[in-house]
Amino acid sequence: MKEVPIKIELEGRWVPTTMGIAEDRIRIAAPVNREIPYRAVVDLEQKKNQVLVTVGGDQETTYRIASVEKVLYVLKKLILTSCSAYRLNAFFMSPAIRGGVLVQNAKWEKGMIAVLKTGIWFVSQENQVCIPLEDVASIDLTSREIQDKNLDVVKIDHLIDNEVVTSFILCPLTTLQVLYNFLNEATQDLEMSEEMDPLTTQVATLVYSGMDSHAIENMLQISHKDLDDIYDALIAAGIAEVLYIRKEIQLTAKGVRYISSVLKSSTN
C-alpha cells in the first residue's frame, strides 16, 4: 500500500494526515483511522483540488479529501473502476460543442462511463470528466455521423462554469438505450411540466445568450415591469435564479443640491 499525504475535512477544519492507496482499498490514517474498500464507495464528486468520497452502509459517510492532482487522479481512477455504480465501456466526446460553437479538435475517446448518485463520469487513459447530474441541462438519444455512418449516440448538454457544453456517448444501441433511460430518470426533476408562452421563451433564450435586462428590454420592446414579471415566472418555474438585484434610484433634495453645485462650479 502506497502512502501519500492528504488533507481531510473534519468538523469544518482541514486536518493533515496520510492515506494508503492499494488496488482494492484506501486506508485513511489518524484521526480518521478508516479502511475503505472501493466497492463500498457509492458516490464520488469532484470540487477543484478535492474529491468527496461517499461510503455506503447503514449510515452513509462522506469524506472530503484534498491532495495534489496526481494523487487525486489515481484515487478517482481506482474508485471509479471498482465502486458501486452503473458502468459501461463506451466512446465519448467531451466537450463536442461549447456555447453553441463546435469544438474543432474534439475527438472520440475510448474509455468507461460510470453513473453514480450525483454525477456521470467519463474515464479514459488521458481524461477524467465529471458531469454533476444537477448541471445536466438535457439528455437526448440522437444520431451522429461517425466515419461516414449514422450512429446512435446519447447527447448530454451540461453546464461548466455557466457555459453550456455538449458531450456525446457512443456504445452499442441496447446499452445506449439503458443508459439513456437511466440518465433520463436520474434527471427527471429537470423536465418542465408546462410550456412557456413565446415571449417568455424569447426572454429565456436571450438570457441564455448572455443578454442583460437592458438589452432584453430594448430588443423585445418591453417595459421594465413586464420584464420583471417574466423573470418572476422563470424563477417560479425553477428555470432561472436571481443573479443580483440592480437598484433604480432617484436623487433626494440633498443629492439635487450637490449635483447642482458641482455642475455650477464646473461650468463657471
Partner: protein
C-alpha cells in the same frame, strides 16, 4: 473588427446576433431573411463575414453558401443552425463554411468563433 452580413429567417435571431456582434465591436452591414436575399446582399455589400442560418424558406443556407463561394471563393461564412441538426456540419464544411454555431448559442463563444474566422487566412 469586421463588416458582417446576418442571414436568418427569424427577426428574433437576427436581432440577437446583431446585438451580440455589435457588442463585440463589429459593424452589421446588412441583414437577409432567406438564401436568395443573402446572395444578392453579399454581391452588393461584400462583407468580411456572413453568419448564415441553414434552414430557411426558398433557397436554404447550404445552397446560398455554395452560390456565395462560387462567386467569391474567399468568402468567410459561419453556418448557424438549431440543435439536433449537427449532421449538416460536414455538408456545410465541405461546401466551404469556415465555422459552425449551434442555436441556442452564448455570446462569448459566438464572438470567439467570429474572431477566429475573421483572423484566418
Amino acid at each position: 473588427m469586421g463588416r458582417i452580413l446576418i442571414v436568418d429567417d427569424t427577426m428574433f435571431m437576427r436581432t440577437l446576433l446583431k446585438n451580440i456582434l455589435f457588442s463585440g465591436g463589429h459593424d452589421i452591414v446588412g441583414e437577409a431573411g432567406d438564401g436568395d436575399e443573402a446572395i444578392a446582399k453579399y454581391q452588393e455589400l461584400r462583407p468580411d463575414l456572413v453568419t448564415m442560418d441553414v434552414i430557411m424558406p426558398k433557397v436554404n443556407g447550404i445552397e446560398a453558401l455554395k452560390a456565395i463561394k462560387s462567386a467569391d471563393p474567399s468568402a468567410k461564412v459561419i453556418m448557424c443552425t438549431a440543435v439536433g441538426q449537427e449532421q449538416m456540419v460536414k455538408l456545410a464544411i465541405k461546401s466551404g463554411a469556415r465555422g459552425y454555431i449551434v442555436k441556442p448559442f452564448q455570446a462569448p463563444k459566438v464572438l470567439e468563433e467570429v474572431k477566429n474566422v475573421l483572423s484566418s487566412a
